[in-house]
């Protein structure tokens, strides 16, 4: 029962924006990965990184995965 009380204690109006930001990052990174021609390293690796690593995954992809040329 303790877990239930912790969940209800947290104000979801406070946490929701964070979840939204994380969602946007993930979706934008995924769309970008599908549309881009080439990445640094194999595409499937970046797909795993974006989906599996929380918040940081999409950011790492944007910084290191994209090829600008």
């Amino acid at each position: 029962m303790e877990e239930v009380s912790i969940l209800s204690e947290i104000n979801w109006a406070v946490i929701a924006p964070l979840l939204v930001i994380q969602g946007i990052l993930l979706i934008v990174a995924a769309i970008d990965l599908i549309r881009i021609d080439r990445t640094n390293g194999p595409k499937w690796m970046w797909a795993l990184i974006i989906v599996l690593i929380n918040i940081l995954g999409p950011i790492i992809y944007f910084i290191f995965g994209r090829r600008n040329d």
């Binding site: 947290i10 924006p17 930001i21 946007i24």
Partner: protein, 258 residues
């Protein structure tokens, strides 16, 4: 007019490589992370198993000014890293791939080329930083207590200047070396070195840009702008102008040499 065209080209490019999406989002996350974890620390400790019954830890009561400093603290470490990493390839990458030659074959002045790059990066950084601090301000008013919008604007103005200096340092190294990774490393190393020098010679360097965040804290607690902050802001502005002209100069020399 030429400058405006170059500037628009930079803006469009930053929209295409999704910097306009991810940099503001990352800045918002950075600004909001520390205030939220500190506010929910009691619950987090409970969820992680709780304290033994006989421990007594007084969790501090945070004032709005303390929380602003938490957000700024994140910007000084992770924010600088993000700025350095997102700006590392803007000129050096183009020179490596030969795009800059395609542009500079046309009668484009070096000054326009560099300042357009600088302005687009500066705009992106400032907008992202402002959005981050607005999010932080929202949570401060929600969870910790009132902070006036005027105080927030002052924080944005002075700390924004410090972030512009980092952008300028990065642009300068962009014109100096061709490897993007090295640009990011040199930028971060320079900022750390400046911090080190400032702490060692703190009695002389009262107007060092690195002390802006300390003075911002003073400003928030006393409610008036300390004179040292104005001085530091002037020094920062001068360094930015100096760095921009320095980058135009090195860029011209490098391009003529190659």
């Amino acid at each position: 007019m030429q400058w405006w065209t170059l500037f628009q080209k930079e803006l469009i490019e930053n929209v295409r490589n999704v910097k306009w999406v991810w940099v503001p989002l990352v800045m918002i996350l950075l600004a909001v992370m520390d205030p939220l974890t500190n506010y929910y620390l009691p619950q987090i400790i409970d969820a992680a198993g709780g304290m033994p019954d006989d421990t007594e830890i007084q969790l501090p009561e945070y004032q709005p000014a303390d929380v602003v400093m938490m957000s700024l603290g994140q910007f000084s470490s992770m924010g600088v890293l993000v700025i350095a990493l997102m700006s590392m390839g803007v000129i050096s990458g183009e020179r490596k791939s030969g795009v800059s030659e395609l542009i500079l074959v046309k009668p484009v002045s070096y000054l326009n080329y560099i300042t357009a790059k600088w302005a687009s990066l500066a705009l992106l950084t400032l907008v992202a930083f402002s959005l981050g601090m607005l999010a932080s301000w929202y949570y401060i008013n929600l969870l910790f207590g009132a902070l006036s919008f005027g105080a927030l604007l002052q924080v944005l103005l002075f700390y924004g200047l410090w972030l512009l200096l980092i952008v300028s340092i990065s642009i300068f190294y962009n014109t100096l070396v061709k490897t993007p990774g090295l640009v990011a490393f040199l930028t971060i190393a320079t900022v750390m070195l400046m911090g080190l020098v400032t702490t060692i010679f703190s009695h002389i360097l009262e107007w060092s840009p690195n002390r802006i965040s300390t003075y911002i804290q003073q400003m928030l607690t006393t409610g008036s702008v300390p004179s040292d902050l104005t001085g530091a802001a002037i020094v920062t502005l001068m360094m930015i102008v100096f760095l921009i002209f320095g980058s135009v100069y090195t860029f011209r020399k490098k391009e003529l040499a190659s």
